[in-house]
Structure formats: structure tokens, C-alpha cells
Amino acid sequence: MSRNAQDLIRFVLRRLIQSLPILLGIATINFLFVNLAPGDAADVLAGEAGAASPEFMAALRERYGLDQPFYVQFLVYMGKLLTFDLGYSFRFSRPVTELLLGTLGPTLLLMSTAILFACSMGVFLGVLAARCVNRWPDYLISVGALIAYATPVFWLGLMMIVLFSVKLGWLPSSGMQTIGAGYTGWRKIGDVALHLIMPATVLGMYLTAFQVRLIRASMLEIGEQDFVTTARSKGLSEQTIAYRHVLRNAILPMVTMVGLQVGAILGGSVLIETVFAWPGLGRLAYNAVFQRDLNLLLGLLFLCSIMVVVTNILTEVAYRLIDPRIPLK
């Protein structure tokens, strides 16, 4: 076991080192794109201030190094990046790193809940559909998945707010905590969980639909393999066969899919966090774009690329832990 653990740690480290060039490449592209857009931070600040004298503009540019040649700005940016100094957000008047760290937690909570929800529902409903194939539970689940698949996320979010918050008053419509309630301990956890239900459900809806269909198809395919007949010939119950033998094999594509879909979920959380006023990265990104907060935007993009890289490593690890055929190399 300790040997396996060692292999695992070595594998993760190797993958992390391998992804460094990728991350730097992405940072370069981000920098180029953001700076290709006309105008710089000084223009934005000055524009907001109403009138701005050329002297004021020049002073601003000098202060933030915007008067330097492009490649110097780039090298300075990359140099700071390596020390996790992502610059200063003029909008929020705070360092970008601080802003990001403050909002990362809520987004991670939202995303992981959504993914967990999608995977567990995917397994539960997918297995159910596969075991009742071509009978009414299967049709019901498949049609439901199709509808969920096709429903626009923001519309669903708004409708849920109308129903569960406005009409029924069961769930809070926005935010992560009841403002001013000052809960602590379990009360606080319960309060956050209550706020989490709607945004996580809506965010995970698309992925859930996807996973249900994937697991169903994968269960049916694996169910025809020889080792399932072997399992049946051993006298196992259909339930045991489905969960112990078929599902374990059928779950592998789901793991891969989660890795591939994390980017999309991250994108979706921009929308969801805005709809539900969730204090996370997504809402920050929305503000950064509309307020042309370039440093913040660059920092967000960089953080997102780190998150995607890390989840990909995590899915690889999960895959390898489930499937012994693929060595930790």
C-alpha cells in the first residue's frame, strides 16, 4: 500500500511539473489577447473619472509600467506570475491574488457540489434506466435527461427562483449565507447548504443529463460482456452483478467525462453565480469583463487554467485507482 501511495505521489508530482509549460503557455496567450484589445488600464480609469488631463494619464501609465515597451511589460508580468503576484485590481482597490483567494472557496464548493450531484444522480438514474431497459422507468429517465439536456441553464435558474423562493418561499434566492444572521458552527453549514441547493442543481443539471445517458449506455454495453455471464454463473443476484461487476467498469467513461467537462462547468458557473448572486469566481469574472479590469481578468484566466489542469490530474488519478490495467507511469 505504501508503495502504491509513493507511486501515486510521484505520478502527481510528475504531472504537475509536466503541466508547468502548459500553464505558462496559456498565460502568454491570455496576456497577448487581453493586451490586443484597444485601450489600457489608464484609459479605463481616466474614462471613469470623466475628464483626464494628458499629464494625469502619463502619470498613471508611468506608475503602473504601462509606458514600457510591450515585451518589457510581458516579461514583468511573467516574472510576477512565477511568484503568484497577479498585480492590482484598480476596480476593487485590492491585490488580485487576494480577490481570487477570497472567491475561490465558494466557487470550488459550488462546482464540487454540482459535479458530485451530477455523478451520483448519473450513477443512480443511469443504473436504474439500464436495469429497466425499454420499460417505463427507462423511458421516463431518458426523456427527463433529454429535457434537462436541452433546457437553457439561465432560464431554469430563474424559473427555480420564481418557484422555490418567490412562490413557495422554501429556498433563499441569492447569496451564500443569510446576511446579518451571523450563524456559526452547524447552523452556518446548514445555512450555506440551503443556499447551495438551487445553484448547484442548476449548474449540475446539464452534466447530470449527460452522465445519466453515458452510464446507461455504458452499463448496457458492459452488461453484454463475458465476465458478466461469469458473474451470473456464480449465482450472484442481479443487483450484485449490476453494482459490483457492471457499474465498476461502466463508471470509467464517466470519470473521463468529468475531466473533460470541468472547463464547461467553470464557464457555466459564471452564469449561475451571476443569476444566484453567488460570491464566487464566476461573478468576479463577470464584473472583471464588464468593468475592463484587465489585471483581474488575467488573474482569473490564469487561475482557471490551473483549476482545469489540476482536475485533469485528479481524474487521471481516479481513473488509475479504479482501473489496474493502466499503470501509474
Binding site: D226, T229, T230, R232, K234, G235, L236, R248, N249, P324
Partner: protein, 322 residues
């Protein structure tokens, strides 16, 4: 003494619009205690489906419509699911042609064998690992301690088939159904595995229903042979008599296909023509379109099975006895 396995009048058909698409069509067969019975026939004749039906493992596309299957005197067809699960693995076990795909790739060998023991209460979680090693030693698995902890992909085909056999024998069944257990293996490994099966038969006293293409193997290991054609047994008898003096033209045809007579590892190569597909089985004798001795009678009347001496066969114009 009741036979271990007795099948009579078994019929199974493909589900679908064609009610006459029989895959097994009136098959009767008996296996006695400790006996090795070989079931031979061309590809598609229904050997595997016969084996599957014994433990009610037929794929969903195939439906058992008629007939009786008794394992140790108990009616398998009418058996309720709960009881059927008890019977699987304890009265009869089955091993398959493809050792590569018949084991779950995500479970260790130990777990898969232990699962058989635990399901039938033949071991506890504490005693199972030890019993698994004993079983692996029984099938002469080299280095059983290490192998037990490994996953199927780290074992060669021959070793996987040994693991399959260990699993099948874990609950000491009265009959082992082996569906082409060596076809997928190298020739030398084939002989080792066949020898292992025979030794185990002697040691444990179980019966074996051996499904095979390989008449060479049949000559070496079987006590009795049943020849299957298009879902039906066309000839049956003790191995020596049947191979020396086949009465049914189909059996004779199979034997004629062997390169150097019996004894080599000859495969069934070819009798001119193709066996009929389920649903397009001709009137009268189903072998008639390919039979050198066919007459007008053969195309009209289905031959009944009759017994002469030690052999039983279904033919209007049988070949001369020895």
C-alpha cells in the same frame, strides 16, 4: 442412479417475428456421475446455447420454449430464481472459451474466486483467502500467493483459464461445463489445461460436459460423444465406437475432415455446404442438403433417433456398423 445432468426435448428460439427460428431444436442429452461427455459440432450448431441453458444463462435474445433440464434430479426450467442462484456454482459450474474476457478486469483473482465461496457460504471473509490459495494450488497455478493478488491482465491466457477453473470448482460442483476451454490458448497450453481438467475429474469425481471443435481432444479425453447439428443431437455413443464406426453421415463427414485421422489436433475443417441458419431449417432431415447419402425420403421425413448397439443416431440410411 440419477444422471447429474439430463436434458430432454429442449427447444430454444430467437425472440422475434419468426416463430420457427430455433437455435436448439429438440435436444436430449444425459451426463452421468464422473463421466466426460463431449459435445461436438460445427460453429453455430447451438453448443454454447445448450451449455448456457443448463444454468439458465441464455442471452435475452434467446428464449427457452420447451423441454426439461434436470441437474441432480432438480428441474432447472421451473426453478425459482432464488433457488437457481443457489444451484449455479454448487451443482454445476461453467467455464468459457475466452479466458481474456471471462474475468472481471477490475477485480483481483483472489476476490473473484472468494466471491464464489462467499456467495454460497463455503467460506467466511477470514477463511476465504486461505481457501483461494488452496484452490489455486489445486489447479497448479504457479506462485499462487502472488497470483491471487494480481488482476487478470497480468496473467497469461493459460493462467487465467486456470483461475477460471479454480473459481468454477470452488464449491465442488457435480458437473463442470467447459465451453471450448482451450480453443483460445496455445497448443502446448491447451494440452496442459486439458490434462488438468482430467486430473481434477479423477481427483474430485465431478462430471464434465466438454464442448469442443477438436476431435483429437475428444478421442483422448471423452467417455462419450454427442454430435450436434443445427440444434439437435444427430448421433451419440461411447467414444471409441463412435469415432471408429460412425453411423451418421454427418459424424463421418466430420471425421473425414481430420487431416491425419484422429489423434492430431485436427480441427473440423469443412463439409461441403453450410449448416442451415435458425429459421431456415429444411423439411425432413436437416442435414439432407449436404448429405452424400440423401434420398427423396430424407427430404420429406424427419428421421427419428434410434439406438442400435451402443450408438444412437437419427438417420434413414445409417452407415454400416463396425
Amino acid at each position: 442412479m440419477t444422471p447429474v445432468l439430463s436434458i430432454s426435448g429442449l427447444r430454444a428460439r430467437l425472440r422475434g417475428p419468426d416463430p420457427s427460428a430455433f437455435v436448439i431444436d429438440g435436444l436430449s442429452l444425459q451426463v452421468n456421475r464422473g463421466e466426460v461427455v463431449a459435445l461436438v459440432g460445427e460453429s453455430g450448431s447451438g453448443k454454447t446455447m445448450t451449455a448456457y441453458s443448463v444454468l439458465r444463462l441464455l442471452p435475452p435474445a434467446i428464449q427457452l420454449t420447451e423441454g426439461e433440464i434436470r441437474l441432480g434430479g432438480q428441474d432447472v426450467v421451473a426453478m425459482e430464481t432464488r433457488r437457481l442462484r443457489d444451484v449455479r456454482g454448487t451443482l454445476a459450474s461453467i467455464i468459457f472459451q475466452e479466458p481474456m474476457t471471462s474475468l472481471n478486469p477490475l477485480m483481483t483473482i483472489e476476490r473473484q474466486i472468494a466471491e464464489m465461496l462467499l456467495t454460497h457460504g463455503k467460506a467466511t471473509r477470514q477463511t476465504a483467502p486461505e481457501r483461494v490459495i488452496e484452490l489455486l494450488e489445486l489447479v497448479r497455478m504457479p506462485d499462487p500467493q502472488t497470483r491471487a493478488k494480481q488482476y487478470p491482465h497480468s496473467l497469461s491466457g493459460g493462467l487465467r483459464q486456470r483461475a477460471m477453473i479454480a473459481m468454477a470448482l470452488a464449491c465442488e460442483p457435480q458437473i463442470l461445463i467447459a465451453d471450448e476451454p482451450t480453443t483460445a490458448l496455445d497448443v502446448t497450453i491447451q494440452q496442459q489445461v486439458m490434462k488438468l481438467l482430467l486430473d481434477l475429474r479423477d481427483q474430485l469425481g465431478m462430471a464434465i460436459l466438454l464442448i469442443t471443435h477438436d476431435l483429437g481432444v475428444v478421442a483422448e479425453v471423452a467417455d462419450r460423444v454427442a454430435v450436434m447439428y443445427a440444434g439437435r443431437i444427430v448421433e451419440e455413443g461411447p467414444v471409441v465406437e463412435l469415432l471408429e464406426a460412425p453411423r451418421h453421415p454427418y459424424t463421418a463427414g466430420l471425421l473425414a475432415c481430420l487431416p491425419e485421422g484422429v489423434g492430431d489436433t485436427g480441427r473440423l475443417i469443412e463439409i461441403p455446404g453450410l449448416p442451415p441458419k435458425p429459421g431456415s431449417i429444411p423439411e425432413g432431415c436437416r442435414f439432407a442438403p449436404r448429405c452424400p447419402s440423401a434420398t427423396e425420403l430424407c427430404t420429406r421425413v424427419t428421421p427419428e433417433t434410434r439406438t442400435e448397439g451402443v450408438q444412437a443416431f437419427a438417420c434413414h440410411h445409417p452407415r454400416m456398423p463396425a
